[in-house]
Each structure stands twice: as C-alpha cells, then as structure tokens.
C-alpha cells in the first residue's frame, strides 16, 4: 500500500501481486492442515464428553436422530452413577495417594542421585547413569511375574502400597536424568560460596541447590505424577478387589451389562480422570515439553 509512495519499487506491482496470491493459498492450506490436526487431537475428547452427558436410554437408542453429534438432551446422570453404582471415589482416592506418594519418593531419591552424579565425582558415574537409563527401558510385563510372587509371599498383593515402589521404574530414570542435567548447569560458584561459609554438602543441597532447581524439580514432579497416574499394567496384575483398584483399572469394570455397554458411564469416568492431566498440560505445557526433551537428549 505504501509502496506507491516509494518510486524505486514502481516496477514491482506485477510481481508483488502474484507472490502474495501464492502465499495466501499456501497459508490457507497450512491453516487447514492445522485445523485438521487439532480436530483429530481434540474431537475424540468432545465425543466422550458428549457421550458422558447422555442418559442410559439415549445410549441404548444409539447414535443418530436426536442423539447426533450435538444431542438434543443432556444429563448428568452418568456422573452421579459413576460414584453411586461404580463407587468411583475410592479408586480415585487410591490413584491420588499412589501418584502423589510416588512423586514425593521420586523427587527425594532422584534429586539426591542427580546431585551426586552431577557434582560429587563418584567413580562409575557413567555406568550408573547407563544402568538408570536401561532400567527405564525394562519391559514392565516381564517383571510382573516375579514381583507378583514376591508380593504374594509377603501378603502384599491387592494393596496399593507396593505400587508406590514399583511405579518408581517409570519415574526414577527420567527424573534422575532430568535433575542431573539441570544440576550440571547450576554455576559452581553458588555452592562454593556456601561451602566457604561453612555449610555441609547436605546443607548446600537443601538450602542452595534445591531452591535454585525448583523449576527442574517441578518439571520432574509433573512428569512423575503423570507417569504414576497413568499406569495400568501393574495395577491390573496386582489388584483384585474393587476397593483397592486405581482409577484407570476401575474404569475397565464400568458400564458392562449383559446386553449393553453403557458408554456414558465409562466416558464419565474417563472425563473425570482426564481432568487433572488436562489441567497439568494446560498450565505446565512449557515445563513438560522442556522436561521431555531434556530427559532424552543426552
């Protein structure tokens, strides 16, 4: 628009009008692709939200007619049924306890190890790091047999407490690597100053390093919580009675009747356990991305 004012570009108009046209087409195609991707990622969530808000008779009637993409009636009956018929509260509480406890243990153990591996020049640090990485790749389903036998012999089957220990196989490798990488980047001067002032190593770790490392600790905590919250394999192998189920396991028992699967009930539970994770992703998106990539690029 302002180009007309500048005499030097007077010869350009023909070329300029063509380039934007091609660019507009390309931009439009790009945005269409973006919309398609977002739809594929999010539409299924809309569909379970929609299904969870149907009544039992609407589910029985099937999709179509008044129960199309946007149903004519919505009801919260599945959400109350999940708690009354499904007793979903207990599994939810179990999952929260286990995921939080796993996160706390992971953070304590992984920060200690991460600090030692980053700073204290122990012999065999490379081998230890390699082992920790390898443990993260260990096939979970190969472990369940022996762990089942061990838990059975100490009478700890069908209890949520052993899960806190076994879930560490998901969380410790990534958390230790992440924190070790972060500790390595903290300037040494900070610690040296505290050591000069007569602080012990452990005091330095607690009072200097951990406060500086809060962002990394937070990232490790979020990832640990997600990984522990998401487990299914250990829970389905070790837990047998509904009162001890974790939330993901409880969902698989919902909505089954002889003639009909009540997807409204299943999907209400699915929506409920998705909420904490969705909130974590929305509020801590950057940290999760940073943690995922820092944990693996080494």
């Amino acid at each position: 628009m302002t180009s007309a004012v500048v005499p030097a570009v007077a010869a350009r108009p023909a070329r300029r009008s063509r380039v934007p046209a091609r660019k507009v087409v390309r931009e439009t195609l790009f945005y269409i692709a973006v919309v398609i991707v977002v739809l594929i990622a999010l539409f299924p969530f809309y569909w379970i939200l929609r299904t969870s808000l149907l009544s039992n008779s609407q589910v029985a009637a099937g999709v179509g007619g008044a129960n199309g993409i946007i149903p004519s009636h919505l009801s919260g009956v599945a959400y109350s049924n999940v708690f009354t018929q499904g007793s979903f509260l207990r599994p939810l509480v179990n999952s929260i306890i286990v995921a939080l406890a796993t996160t706390v243990v992971t953070i304590v153990v992984a920060s200690m190890a991460g600090y030692a591996l980053a700073r204290l020049r122990i012999r065999g640090a490379g081998a230890i790091l390699g082992f920790i990485l390898l443990a993260g790749f260990f096939p979970v389903l190969a472990m369940i047999g022996p762990l089942f036998l061990v838990l059975r012999s100490i009478g700890a089957l069908n209890s949520i407490w052993p899960l806190i220990i076994v879930y560490l196989v998901y969380t410790l490798p990534i958390a230790t690597w992440l924190l070790k990488n972060f500790f390595e980047q903290i300037p040494m001067e900070l610690e040296d100053a505290a050591l000069v002032d007569g602080a012990t190593r452990l005091q330095v770790l607690r009072k200097v390093v951990v406060p500086v490392a809060v962002p990394a600790v937070f990232t490790a905590a979020i990832l640990s919580f997600i990984l522990a919250w998401n487990d299914f394999a250990f829970a389905v192998s070790f837990l047998t009675s509904t009162g001890h189920f974790t939330a993901p396991l409880a969902i698989t028992t919902f909505g089954q009747s002889q003639f009909q699967t009540f997807y409204n009930l299943i999907d209400a539970a699915v929506v409920i356990i998705s909420i904490p994770i969705a909130l974590l992703v929305l509020f801590a998106q950057r940290r999760i991305v940073a943690g995922l990539t820092a944990g693996s690029f080494r």
């Binding site: 991707v37 190890a113 030692a116 979970v140 369940i144 022996p146 389905v236 690029f297």
Partner: protein
C-alpha cells in the same frame, strides 16, 4: 565432618587462586564447560573433601540404584531361575523341580507364542514408520511461527499425557457401532457401513482400531521430540542452503534430516520399545481377541503369569522379551553415540 569442611574451604581458596587459566577461557560459551576441567584437575589440598564428597556421593546415589535393581534386576534373575523350573500356582502341590530347557522348548513350539511374536514385530515396524513420518510432519508444522502455535502444541500434547486407559476407552467408544462416531460418519456415505463391528469381531478391523488408538496417543511424543530437534538446528545452515539455491525438498533431505538424526534416533528407539511392549491398549480394547488374534508378547506374558499362573513358562517368555528390548536398546546406544561426541 568439621575437618573435611575446613579442608574444603582451603580447597576452594586454592581453586580460586590457582586459576590463571580462567581469563583465557572466558570466551567459551558454556559456563559448565569452562568450570568442569578446573574441577577435574586434582587439587592436593582438597583431597580430604574430595574423599568425603565421594563417600557422600555413593550414599546419595545408593537409593536409586538399590530401588531400580530391586524392581528390574531382581525380577530378571528370579525369571531366569523360574524359567528352568516347574512353577505353576494352579498346581500348587507339585514340587518346583528343575526342568531344564523344557519351558523354552514349550514356548518355541507354542503356535500362540510364535504368532504373538510375529504380530508384535509387524505392529512395531508399521507403528514406528507411521509414527515417525506423521510425527515429523507435525513437528515441521509446529516449527513454523504462526498465530495459534501454542494452542496447536497444547492440543497435540493432551493426547500424549492421557493415561492409556483414556485413549483406549475413548477409541473404543469412537469405534463402537451403537455409541461411536466412526460408524455414524461412515453410515452417511453408505448405509451398510453404519453398523460395522470393529472390535472383537474381525482381526484386521480390531488391529486398525488398536493402531489408531495407539498412534493417536503416541505420535505427539514423537512430534515434541522432533520439534526440539528442529529447534536446535541453527538458522544460518538453512540460509547457506538457500544461498546455494537449494529447493525446499533439497534443504529438507540434505540439511534437516541429517541434522535431525540424534532426535530421530531417540524418538525411534522410544517408540520402538513402546510398540514392542504394547499391552494396555490391547487389554482394554480387545482383551487379546477375537480369539487370540490381537495378542502380543506382553499380553501373552500377562496371561501366562497372572491368568494361568505359570511362572516357569512366563519366565522363559520374559527372558525373550528382555532380550528383545536389550537388543533394541543396544541399537539405540550405537546409533546415538556419534552425536554425543
């Protein structure tokens, strides 16, 4: 403790004074790199602190090592022991006799195990090819600067962060003939397509549903990893390629892909292992059916251990699974090594 502290102070003082080399190195970009060599230099006065530091280091590292050994190495050894013994809880009265290789020969002769192995390998190959290609496309999309990029990234990240039970149940709903969206929309094209049974009726359709649910959840992870890899590539490499008159495709194949190799190998290996060990989505969507047609190695392991309580045969299967995972991890380490130099 106080002794080591005082020597520690001395060590720092020496470190502080004995670093004439520092100004010369000040130009180095990374603070860490500048500091690390100095720390490694043996400082005689600081020897006591080094020793006490090291002792503390072992104490701090011990919990991680002990816990991970207890959850991985102990079951592995237990599995090796079990795989050479008869150990089945369904026959609790029978003694746990040494049976040699019979669990292994039973496994190799089992048609169920062999076909589970084949299925798992095919699933793994198809999955990693598809996930890497689509994940790379998504990464390139997110790498562009445009309005709504943050929203795109968040909406891609949400499926990844969800429990597998969510992605599996969600797609089970989507593929259900009476409650799902898939048949509803297919029915708009052809009436006969409005009631296709996907899960539990037909082997191929079951696999398609499993494959979609698994990819939908796991491609985001690949995309985020590759995006991080793209962001590390300096812009002037592309500038140089453009100066030389490279087309988009040329700069993609000659610049982007080679420089993306570290990120690609990480994504590849994570996805390979996840696909090789696929379990949750199968258990929830098909329970291994129809028949045994969607059973994978991990599923069979679960069934042998927990349902059949055969810890001898299960132990043999576990060892094969661990060996497979180890082989893949080994490839990973090999492929990844050059980039760390």
């Amino acid at each position: 403790m106080s002794d080591s502290q005082s020597t520690g102070n001395a060590a720092t003082a020496v470190d502080g004074t004995a670093t004439e080399g520092r100004p010369a190195r000040a130009g180095r970009p990374a603070l860490v790199k500048r500091l690390m060599p100095e720390r490694r230099r043996p400082a005689p006065v600081g020897h006591a602190r080094e020793t006490s530091d090291r002792r503390l280091g072992y104490m701090l590292v011990a919990p991680v090592v002990i816990l991970l050994l207890a959850i991985t190495a102990y079951p592995l050894i237990y599995n090796i022991w079990n795989s050479f013994h008869f150990d089945n809880l369904s026959f609790g009265g029978l003694p746990h006799n040494f049976v040699g290789w019979s669990n292994f020969s039973k496994m190799f002769k089992s048609a169920q195990w062999v076909s589970a192995l084949e299925r798992t390998l095919v699933f793994t190959v198809v999955t990693i090819v598809f996930d890497i290609v689509v994940g790379l496309a998504l990464a390139l999309m997110m790498h562009r600067q445009f309005r709504g990029r943050g929203f795109l990234r968040a909406s891609i990240l949400v499926p990844w962060a969800m429990p597998t039970v969510v992605s599996a149940m969600l797609w089970k709903t989507m593929f259900d003939p009476s409650a799902g969206f898939v048949d509803y929309i297919l029915g708009a094209f052809h009436p006969a397509w409005s009631s296709i049974a996907w899960l539990g009726a037909n082997e191929w359709r079951s696999w398609i549903a499993i494959f979609i649910a698994d990819s939908w959840k796991n491609i985001p992870f690949v995309a985020i990893l590759l995006l991080a890899g793209l962001q590390v590539i300096p812009n002037d490499v592309y500038e140089a390629a453009r100066m030389d008159g490279a087309s988009w495709w040329q700069s993609f194949t000659r610049v982007t892909l080679p420089l993306l190799k570290p990120a690609l190998s990480v994504a590849l290996i994570f996805r390979t292992l996840q696909a090789l060990l696929v379990f949750d989505v199968i258990y929830i969507m098909t329970g291994g059916g129809p028949g045994n047609s969607t059973q994978t190695l991990s599923f069979l392991n679960y069934q042998t251990f927990i349902i059949n309580t055969d810890f001898g045969l299960g132990g043999a299967m576990s060892i094969l699974l661990v060996l497979l995972a180890l082989a893949v991890s080994f490839v990973y380490v090999r492929a990844f090594r050059p980039s760390t130099n």
